[in-house]
Symmetry: C2
């Protein structure tokens, strides 16, 4: 793999930031990785893990970096850019990994100087873990990475900057797709934001029940519930920011979900077995398509119950 | 492992029935496994797989069997018992694997002759696969098996029959727990029935959306949605019967889920970040408890993304 950037900076050393540091070293896309995190303990841990050159000041961390990757929660992006701005190199490329794009385009875009190039992005990759110890180089391998280039940026060098960011993620084994920011937010509201919201809701609900104890829920969770606990273990700050910053699309699809659930509730109440069967039967097809598209393993129970 | 029964009969050769046939052979709990399925193609496949002695008549299949395991959907149990009745041995033990217990106690209980012993049960084990090819011996290993003995059965030999059924499942590596039938139904409504209902609902909803295409949902499903497709791939007949036969408990917990979801929707609409954060943060603890209780693997993404 040829080197793409001499130095890159990663602001925010959580699951994604630390995975980028690992993948950058493994792939050889850059000579130096410069890191910053607002939490001194995370900086300390990043040093211990040898993830790169760790700085206590974001403006120092981005100095001389040809690519800056914003890996902080969506709600913290504008402040991170503001703090890093004094150190930004002329002609630097800025990208991010936020799960919401339109809000980031607006908030980060407003803070950036005119002498840099902003190429928003979102890796469709992750685990339920967070923090600097959670990262690993293969996280992006065979996963989609969505870039949402700014339609309004007509500078000649902008197209080349977008291509370089694309090349960067491809070097980590990702498949790159380009999309309009608002389109991204509608698609992800369905495939990611609503599923997480529902998982958080059912897990919190189960904890609050009076009729069934928490220890009973845990004990018999293998009958379905445990799958929801994995998704609901994701970083709460990141997810709070997602819902606050993709409100319209999430509320729209949540309304649809509730409407359909009410219809299902009615079918149960009136013992409408045909409606239930028809709906359950359709869901199988979607599973087959997900597996055929290489987006999940076909092993029963994801292979986790193998002895 | 000592032999517990000379002959057992398994009515219904799906995921659970075929897994019992495999586990029975592997554990040596019985000398002979006699099988019946209402679908001639399934019978044929059971013969090809060498799962046991396959019969075309349920009354023949249960002849001389000391234990009969009903492995058909909950709604088909009473008819299966009715058809098998002429062949039932005096003193035979009947058990089942239905996901609902109170309805089975009533429907099967009403059909059984007085000279047999009925010990209802439910293995908290399964995968999203169904049919005779889906079974494997280790399915019950380290999983809970709930027995719901009939409180009204005061015959002296009944307690011994319950103990034998318990020993049978323990021979497959299961942990056995006893519970009242109605209590089982309330607990499973939370841990299993509601999670499945929600998964079916979101998958069907995503298929129907006009704003996002099905191929987009599939393509970006790794961001959360794919987890729901696994659960929603479960057998539709089985699940239809679960909802029709555990109506009260499911509607009760579904009402609670919808109420909590409405509160979450409101928090998003009013940008109440503190409420969202507090709720998301709590969900992590439940995940830790599930893992500590040995009910799930701690590997990120269940280890399915390992290269």
């Amino acid at each position: 793999m040829a080197m793409i950037f001499d130095r890159i900076a990663v602001l925010g050393v959580g699951l994604i930031g630390s995975s980028i540091a690992h993948a950058a070293r493994e792939s050889g896309v850059t000579r130096v990785v410069q890191l910053y995190d607002a939490d001194p303990e995370v900086c300390q841990r990043a040093r211990e893990l040898g993830l790169g050159e760790v700085f206590d000041d974001p403006a120092k961390a981005v100095e001389k970096a040809e690519l800056v990757v914003l890996c902080v929660p969506v709600g913290a992006m504008a402040a991170a850019v503001e703090a890093a701005k004094p150190g930004l190199k002329i002609g630097a490329i800025i990208t991010d990994v936020g799960s919401v794009k339109q809000a980031v385009v607006e908030s980060v875009g407003a803070k950036l100087p005119t002498y840099v190039y902003f190429v928003p992005g979102h890796p469709i990759a992750g685990t339920e873990r967070s923090g600097p110890d959670a990262g690993f180089a293969a996280l992006f391998h065979n996963r989609w990475h969505i870039l949402t280039p700014l339609p309004g940026d007509e500078r000649e060098a902008y197209a080349a900057a977008v291509d370089q960011v694309e090349e960067f993620w491809r070097a980590f084994g990702a498949d790159v797709e380009r999309m309009a920011p608002d389109r991204h937010d509608v698609v992800l509201a369905v495939t990611s934001h609503l599923p997480h919201l529902i998982a958080f809701n059912i897990v919190a609900m189960a904890e609050d029940l009076e009729s069934v104890t928490e220890s009973e829920v845990v004990k018999y969770s293998a009958s379905g519930f445990r799958d929801f606990t994995r998704i609901a273990a994701s970083d709460p700050t990141m997810w709070r920011d997602v819902f606050l910053n993709n409100k319209d699309a999430v509320l729209e699809v949540l309304g649809r979900f509730s409407e359909d659930l009410a219809a299902l509730q009615r079918a149960i109440r009136w013992s409408d077995g045909d409606t239930l069967y028809a709906l359950f039967d359709r869901a199988r097809r979607m599973r087959r398509e997900v597996i055929e598209a290489g987006q999940d393993t076909s092993a029963p129970n994801w292979g986790r119950d193998r002895d």
